[in-house]
Amino acid sequence: MKKAACMILALILFLPLQGCRFKDIDLKLFVMAIGLDVSDDHPDKIKVTLKIAIPQGDPKKADEKVQILTQESDTIAEAVREMKSRVDKELDFGHCKAMIFGEKYAKTSLRDSLDWAMRRRDIQMMMYCAVGKPSAKEVLGVQPASERIPVNSLLLALSRDGTESPFIVPIFFYNLHRRFNETGLDPLLPVIEAKSEQEFEISTAYLFNKQKIVYLMNPEETRFYNLLTTKNLLTNFNVNYNGSRYAYNVEHSKASYKIKTPKDGEPYIEYKIKLVAELEENKTESIVSEQFLRDLGAAAEADLNQKIQKALEKVHKSGSDPYGWGLRYAATHWNNRTEFKEWADMSERLKFKVNSKVLVKYTGMIR
């Protein structure tokens, strides 16, 4: 009797579960990327572009179906709601993997869009962020011929899952948010340039202070940024030696730095870089000897030291701190109340020293 009562009770409890309001996959449109621009006509309005993938039955068939929607409104949330009345299915942001800020928009402020994306529960933290040039809408409109899944070409490039270019700085959404708030660490974003309807290029990066864009790193500086912040970067460098050009390919790389404040003298940041490399291109026809490799390494060291030092000085002068030197200074000093003031004071006098070691170890397949 009692058992029966319990079972009936359990069955009754299942009753409210019948209609869960989850929508099936064929009733959904998956937003793969969001683009944000300043409106052309009203400078205080925002133009939201969504790149939407339409679910396909057979994943092996390679015909991607994409829909691009654009809507202008006062807030991002409102623009998304207005777009909902222009499509037939539910918009799902759960698979949104990229957020592109138009160049004009990034020059004013990014903070409101960061706030919106952070607050929304369905937007992932591991979304890739970038600046789109000339506008986010045009970047999202690019459809490379090699693309099989919507927006995948952008994602493969930004995540280093596909191509591994030393000129691309991958920035996750949570990383960007952290950089916007942290004292002593400033945001940077890779720039995606739409070259044509079928091609984009990512090789530069914008530096921000806490408010807006302050500096554009050229491809070389971007590559140095990657060299100094990632371990084992896949790249190559050119070097002039004895009046002709050589190129070497980096196999292992490692970089670290220390902020030094000698009692007598100016504060400086010392970078130590270690590269193990192999010769990739030799324009002369001479046979490579061991001594030659050593000399080439020394020439490469001198070249890198000078170029990286210049690049670091330029970045430092721009007033942005994408490397997080300020945070490192604070993290290694225990005088919590005065450390950031000290850092700000010495920041103007800061010098850079670069100490690189290039070991050209192999000559490649031929001597």
Binding site: A10, L13, P16, L17, C20, R21, F22, M118, R121, Q124, M125, M126, D161, F172, Y174, N175, H177, R178, R179, F180, N181, E182, T183, L185, T230, K231, G324, L327, R328, A330, A331, T332, H333, W334, N336
Partner: protein, 367 residues
């Protein structure tokens, strides 16, 4: 009867569940004002409390708190003391449930009404708390053994990520010499307070001997550091304060390319779902048995009929459903306030055990 090793599981379940019970949030809000120091102090206090309580309870072999109190005090006093403890234990489970319903709503399905999720949890919990103490201990063991490898995987994933900012962590470590406040110490000691369940589970331990108290201290210290510092390494020293559930945002920032699902968040959610349910079961089981201790019949000192359990479980469930009416900020306050009050409750519990022992010995000497 169970072996002594089950004591460690009681400690571990509380230590692991701290993420749900607002410990990181409490510590993070004090991160510039003494959280690090309070972590150190909490380790000392926590280990000391464990030592004292285990020693104290071993004076009453195979007896739970209800028996100890009912035998040595007049009825009214023992009932009041038990009632106080019931409130504390019930609230512990209630907060875990409420915040997990909140997490489910935020991250998994915002479309399902909250009371349905709560009813689902309540069915599992209420059916399980009626089991014998031994079965609950065995279930606890199985769930912890199953979940710990996953948690270690998440941790390795998190700590080995190149985007994890050790500078941000070190910056907080340099704030170690700031004096802590009472709240932050009380909040940090929560992870050690699994031992207090011994007040009931002492019934089923066969001559309890806890060896390696230092191991508990070291484990507790590491778990505290991890649950406090890892979110800071991902969201930054400043950005972290804006996150409502720091650990779930951190899990969202992790990505696995080749393991089950790409977003670690979902695996993290299910791991913590089982852990928080079993933690609630342990806490409410203690609360249930204590309540039964209040209703022990006066003369025969036999335990009450089993049907009385339902009359305890029904108000438990109704209160939990009413608790859903709480707003986000009320739940926060309740959670943090509970951590503070609980600390006093624990001290009171330890003192009362020693006092009872003293009382008992004096009586015996007199007769």
């Amino acid at each position: 009867m169970v072996k002594s090793k089950y004591f460690y599981y009681l400690f571990l379940i509380n230590a692991l569940i701290n993420i749900i019970n607002f410990v990181p949030r409490g510590l993070i809000s004090h991160r510039f004002s003494g959280a690090m120091m309070s972590v150190l102090i909490a380790v000392l206090i926590g280990t000391l409390f464990i030592y004292l309580f285990v020693k104290g309870m071993s004076k009453f072999p195979q007896k739970g708190l209800p028996e100890i109190l009912n035998e040595n005090y007049p009825r009214i006093i023992s009932s009041l003391m038990l009632l106080g403890h019931v409130v504390l234990w019930y609230t512990a489970g209630l907060i875990t449930l409420l915040s997990f319903v909140d997490v489910s709503l935020r991250y998994i399905s915002s479309d399902v009404p909250s009371y349905i999720i709560m009813i689902g949890f309540l069915v599992v919990v209420c059916l399980s708390i009626r089991l014998t103490s031994e079965s609950i201990m065995y279930a606890l063991e199985v769930l912890i053994v199953l979940n710990i490898p996953l948690i270690i995987y998440f941790l390795l994933k998190g700590l080995l990520n190149p985007y994890f900012s050790w500078d941000a962590v070190m910056q907080i470590v340099t704030y170690s010499w700031t004096m802590p406040s009472y709240e932050s110490i009380a909040q940090a000691t929560f992870i050690f307070s699994g031992y207090i369940n011994l007040a009931l589970f002492n019934r089923v331990f066969k001559n309890l001997k806890v060896r390696h108290f230092w191991l508990i201290g070291v484990m507790g210290f590491l778990i505290l550091l991890i649950s406090f510092l890892v979110p800071i390494g991902y969201q930054g020293t400043v950005g972290i304060e804006r996150h409502v559930y720091p650990w779930f945002t951190t899990a969202d920032a992790l990505r696995t390319k080749t393991f089950i699902v790409e977003r670690v968040l979902f695996m993290f959610y299910f791991t913590y779902l089982t852990l928080s349910l079993v933690s609630t079961i342990v806490h409410w089981h203690v609360a249930l048995e204590f309540t039964k201790g209040i209703f022990v019949s006066k003369k025969q000192r036999t335990s009450p009929k089993r049907s009385i359990e339902w009359w305890i479980i029904i108000p438990f469930s109704i209160l939990a459903l009413l608790g859903l009416k709480m707003g986000q900020f009320t739940l926060d306050h309740l959670g943090l306030m509970y951590l503070d009050v609980r600390f006093v409750g624990e001290m009171f519990m330890i003192l009362s055990v020693y006092f009872t022992y003293w009382l008992k010995r004096r009586r015996r000497r007199k007769t």
